[in-house]
């Protein structure tokens, strides 16, 4: 693209950040040039947020240097970074919705007259500033009058107006629709052409290729590499993010295709989807078989589970259970049909911290039975003890508060919660996330065991090799829409990575 490389605006070298027990960022370099849009990519725990926090001074660094225009800076607090010309806009807009647009734009630096805020001037200048960003709106209206997209643009306008060298955008498109994304991109291209260096964090690979000039990939707190976008094939990018070379063979053995049950599926999703959540996808779940779901973070993989379990209600397509169309309006509808769901965020959506292991295990079964048919205390103890033994949950007894368990044991307790309901379909979102290696293998073995006993499983995971190993079919999601379905022998980590990386034109070729 550029004939002579543009000047470097920001150079970070060897940035390190240590948390108790874990090195969140380990000697990472980042180079930003004037007039470029630079994608910062990585899966969960890669260190993107930590890197941004060190650049904006929201967290102190434990090692490394940051220079802006060749001058070493020390972004102690957010003010320091702003002075050096670094500004950030986060996914969750951090402006104040009840103040006016102009008040938000000039918060902390209001134009004054005789020591008082010069409101009319502030509104006038605010309006003029926004017009430069292609927004013709009345700056005296409250921020909450405007859509998320407009608020996002206002936040960018404020950030750029504050300090116009480096602009960091953390998932700015996460809650925007297609048209709004285009508006944002147009603005970002204008800003780039004015010489701004823009850091763009996203989970949407299409947007990376549509917008950015250069890519830095992090994984597990380390720098994987920096490439020019034009020179980096999607496949290589995904491989960099996932840390797998696409040619690697699975070391886990998959069961032979002959063992996979055929026939009518228990649950079939046909074009199921919900606006702004996830695009229409198909899925078939057979008794005694595993449907895996793969995709990057934010690809829509979790959202498919939310629709299948009635956490969100679909507004398109249909869901067939035993061949009959059903509408799921709440998790209770799904549970009545014999579904179970272990969510991704165990703490927030899974365990009921404060209640005992026993109570956590019996909760779903009790809810299914209704409030008037209480499981007797003896029954509860029997159930809890049985599953503690069966799943080898490490605890002295069932009456301990569940939050005292390790991550792996909490996950097993949640599994026990659903197994107690004797489900026909179990949906698991990242069942092995944040679990130590030993428990990891145990849980995979458990899943295989459940499958062999005739349960239908839908397992969402970012562990490509694992998904490839135990899945009979794999649904690949990308950019909130299905990107392919792999079956039988075509399921290999390489094929999954390929499907994740394929752009729209090659979609379906897998």
């Amino acid at each position: 693209m550029a004939v002579t490389p543009p000047p470097v605006v920001l150079a970070a070298r060897g940035l390190t950040r240590q948390y108790p027990g874990v090195r969140a960022l380990d000697g990472v370099d980042l180079t930003l040039r004037a007039g470029e849009i630079h994608a910062l990519l990585g899966e969960n725990g890669a260190g993107k947020s930590t890197l941004i926090n060190l650049l904006t001074g929201a967290q102190p660094r434990d090692g490394g240097t940051i220079t802006v225009d060749g001058v070493a800076i020390d972004p102690d607090g957010p003010g320091g970074a702003v002075k050096a010309g670094i500004a950030a806009v986060y996914q969750e807009i951090t402006l104040l919705p009840n103040l006016s647009v102009a008040q938000n734009l000039y918060l902390g630096r209001e134009p004054t007259r005789w020591g008082l805020v010069h409101r009319s001037r502030m509104n006038r200048e605010g309006g003029a500033l926004l017009r430069r960003f292609g927004l013709a709106i009345d700056a005296s209206r409250p921020l909450s009058d405007f859509s998320t997209a407009v608020q996002q643009l206002i936040a960018i306008a404020r950030a750029v107006d504050l300090s116009a060298k480096v602009l960091i955008l953390d998932e700015p498109t996460a809650s925007l629709d297609t048209a709004e994304v285009q508006t944002l991109f147009t603005l970002l291209r204008v800003l780039r052409d004015q010489g701004l260096a823009i850091v763009f964090v996203t989970h949407f690979l299409d947007q990376v290729y549509a917008l950015t000039d250069r890519i830095t990939v992090l994984r597990n707190g380390r720098l994987v590499g920096e490439r020019r976008t034009a020179d980096l094939p999607r496949l290589d990018l995904v491989a960099m993010m996932l840390g797998k070379t696409p040619t690697a063979e699975s070391h886990l053995s998959r069961r032979p295709a002959a063992a996979i049950p055929a026939g009518a599926p228990l649950v079939r999703a046909e074009g199921l989807g919900r606006r702004r959540l996830v695009g229409a996808f198909d899925a078939a779940l057979h008794a005694g078989a595993v449907l895996g779901a793969a995709g990057l973070l934010g690809s829509g993989r979790t959202e498919t589970a939310l629709l299948l379990f009635g956490v969100e209600t679909a507004d398109q397509g249909q869901l067939l259970v035993d061949g009959k169309a059903v509408t799921l309006r709440s998790p209770r509808d799904a549970i009545r049909l014999g579904f179970g769901f272990c969510p991704e965020d165990r703490k927030l959506d899974g365990i009921v911290a404060g209640l005992s292991i026993r109570e956590n295990i019996v909760l779903a079964l009790q809810a299914k039975r209704g409030w008037w048919r209480r499981l007797s205390t003896a029954q509860q103890h029997e159930l809890a003890d049985r599953y503690i033994k069966l799943l080898d949950i490490r605890t002295p007894d069932a009456e301990k508060p569940i939050q005292l368990l390790s991550g792996g044991n909490q996950q097993k307790a949640l599994l026990a919660r659903w197994l107690a309901t004797e489900p026909r379909l179990l949906i698991l979102d990242e069942p092995t996330r944040g679990i130590d290696v030993g428990a990891h293998a145990e849980i995979v073995r458990l899943l295989e065991d459940l499958r062999d006993r005739g349960m239908a499983l839908y397992v969402i995971s970012s562990e490509i090799e694992e998904v490839a190993a135990y899945s009979d079919r794999v649904l690949v999601m990308r950019d909130r829409a299905p990107a392919g379905l792999l079956e039988g022998d075509s399921i290999t980590p390489a094929a999954i990575v390929n499907a994740i990386a394929a752009d729209h034109h090659t979609q379906g070729a897998a």
Partner: protein
Amino acid sequence: MSAFILIRLKAARPQLALLVLALLVNVFVAPGFLDLRLQDGRLFGGLIDILNRGAPVMLLAVGMAPVIATRGIDLSVGVIMAISGAVAAAGVNAGLAWPLAILAALATGLVCGLWNGLLVAVFRLQPIVATLILMVAGRGIAQLITEGRILTFTEPHLIAVAGATLAALPLPVVLALAAAGLTGLLVRTTALGLFVEAVGTNPRSSRLAGVHTSLVLGAVYVWSGLMAALAGLIATADIKGADANNAGLWLELDAILAVVIGGTSLYGGRFSIGRSVLGALVLQAMRTAILRAGLPPELNLVLMALVVAAVLTQQSPAFRPLAQSLLARFKNKEAQA
């Protein structure tokens, strides 16, 4: 079963200790306080007085405990007392048969609770705001029913709600204990207790586990409304008149305090009906002691506030380490000196 009760008693040790302490103060103030005597088939004595006077707040606490366990609060119970009392009094004065008047009053409480439950569970208003609406508007409703007067009545059966004797105990005591027993049975022999605690601790997880969260939320407010209506009947029968301005005034705060003294956190989760009732009795015993001590009335509120502050700080998880570190520092200074 007996082991079960022992476990529960063990959990209630702080509340029992407080109650014993408050009763000891009463004995100190009035030496004959603990004496019980049977006269005309009814027990008399200081303990009975505390139970009898404490009955309305006991009832409110019984309804309030599950509400607070869902991380909610019901500020309208005092007002529901006034409305239900007004309905009963206006009913008998208009010639309604007394059983119908009582049913109407209880139904009024149910409707009020349903309204609160609807706002909280369906319209997702914050409980403090949702119940504030009725708390503010409800006195006006009660005043409309009584036309601003104290509606005096002479219907003997309605008066008997507060005056009759059952099993040698004043009827309000029997009613409050029965309501507490019934509620305890209801939450512990069905799964309601588990659902209430689960919803109060983590509503998202509970919903994903299939708990009908809005039903649970609605139910606790309906129950609280019913308990408040019963308390209102007792308070109204006690003075043989419906006083829209003053019936149940500020008692919602007493009920919340009773539940908190009973060890239920305002952040929801674990709750106990029995301990909440003990909390209500602790409050009443303290009030009786202050009343009988013959202290200047100006001191009542101050004393009450001091005792409550002491009780609650003692329960606070932040207090013990703080007290210990202060104590350590004090000892250090002493050693240096």
